[in-house]
Symmetry: C6
C-alpha cells in the first residue's frame, strides 16, 4: 500500500491553483500556491475570495495561517 503524507500532498500542489476553506470563514480562497511549510501555512498569489461559488474580490498575494486551514483541494 502506498501512503501519501498529507503535507507531501499539499507540497505537490505548488505551482497549481488550489481552493482553501478557512476556519470560521464563510468564504473560500482560490489562488496559485507559491509556498507551503510543515504547518500548512500557505502563500498564494492571484488569490480571489469566493462566497457560494461567486467571486467576491481579488486579494492578490496572501498568507494563510496553517492551523486555521480546514480543507485544501486542487482547483481544476
Amino acid at each position: 500500500m502506498i501512503v501519501v503524507l498529507p503535507t507531501q500532498m499539499v507540497k505537490s500542489m505548488i505551482g497549481k491553483v488550489i481552493r482553501v476553506e478557512m476556519k470560521g470563514e464563510e468564504s473560500e480562497l482560490v489562488g496559485k500556491l507559491e509556498g507551503v511549510d510543515d504547518y500548512m501555512n500557505l502563500y498564494l498569489v492571484n488569490a480571489m475570495e469566493y462566497r457560494k461559488n461567486e467571486k467576491i474580490r481579488n486579494l492578490g498575494e496572501i498568507v494563510l495561517r496553517g492551523n486555521n486551514v480546514v480543507l485544501i483541494l486542487p482547483e481544476e
Copy 2:
C-alpha cells in the same frame, strides 16, 4: 489490558472509507483515507461532502488539517 493509541487507530483505517467531522463545519466529509500523519492531518480521495446524511457535492481529493478534525469514524 490492550491500549490502542488514537493515531494508530486512524493509521489502521488507511485504504478504508472514513467519515470526518471538522470544527465549525455543518457538513461532514466521507472519503477513502490515503494518508495520515501524527497530527491527524488527513489525505482523502473520492471525498464527498454530506449535510444531514444528504450528499452535497463531490470533492475528489482533499487534505484536511488535523487540528480542525473533531471526530473520525470508519464508514461501513
Copy 3:
C-alpha cells in the same frame, strides 16, 4: 499534597465509560475509553452521541482529536 496530572487522570479512565464534550459541538460523546495519548486524543468504542441527555445515535468506534476536547468526565 498529592497532585494528579490531568493526562494521568484520563489514562486512569482507560477501560471505563467516559463522557466527552467537544468544542463547537452541541452534542456530547459517551463511550468506553480504549486509548489515549499525551495530546488527549481519544479512542472510544461503543460510542453514542447525546444531545441534552437524549441519545441521538450510535457511532461505534470513534477517534476524537485532543485539541478539540473541552471536558472529560467519568460516566457513572
Copy 4:
C-alpha cells in the same frame, strides 16, 4: 520587578477552588484544583457548572483541556 509566570500562578492554586471559562461555552466551571500541567490542562474535583452565576449541575471530577481554557481565576 517580580515577574510571576502564568503557569506558576495556576500551580499555586492547587488545593484551592477555582473558576474556569472554557472556549465556546456559555457556562463556567467551578471546582477544587487537584492537578495542572504546563499546557494548563486542569483536573478538578467537586466541579460544578454555572451559567450566569446560577448553578446548573454537579459534575464531580473533570479534566479540562488546556488549549480550550480561556480564563482562570481563584474563587473566593
Copy 5:
C-alpha cells in the same frame, strides 16, 4: 531596520495596564500585567471585564491562556 519580536513587546508591558481581547468573547479584559511567558499566557492583577467600553465586573487576579489571546494593546 529595528525589528521588535511580538513576545518581547508583550514582556515590555509587564507592570503596565493592558487591554486583551480573547477569542470567542464579547468582553475585553483590562488589568495590570504581572507575568507573561513565550506562549503569551498572561497573568493580570486588578483585572476588570469590559463590554462595549462599559465596565461589567471586577475579576481581581486572572490567568489568560495564550492561544486564546487575539489582541493585546497597552492601555493608556
Copy 6:
C-alpha cells in the same frame, strides 16, 4: 521552481502596512508591521480597526497572537 516559505513572505513585509484578518472577528486590523516571529505573532504600529472597509477606531500599537491569524495581505 522558486518556493517562498509563508513565514519568509510575512517577514518580507516588515516595515510595510499590512491587513490582517483574525479568527472569530468581524473586523480587520491594518497597521505597519514592526515585528513577526515564526508563529506569525505580529507586532503592528499605527494600527486601525476596520469593519466592512470602514474605519472603526485607532488602536495604536498592538500585538496579535499568531494562531488566531487567519489571513495576512500587504496593503497597497
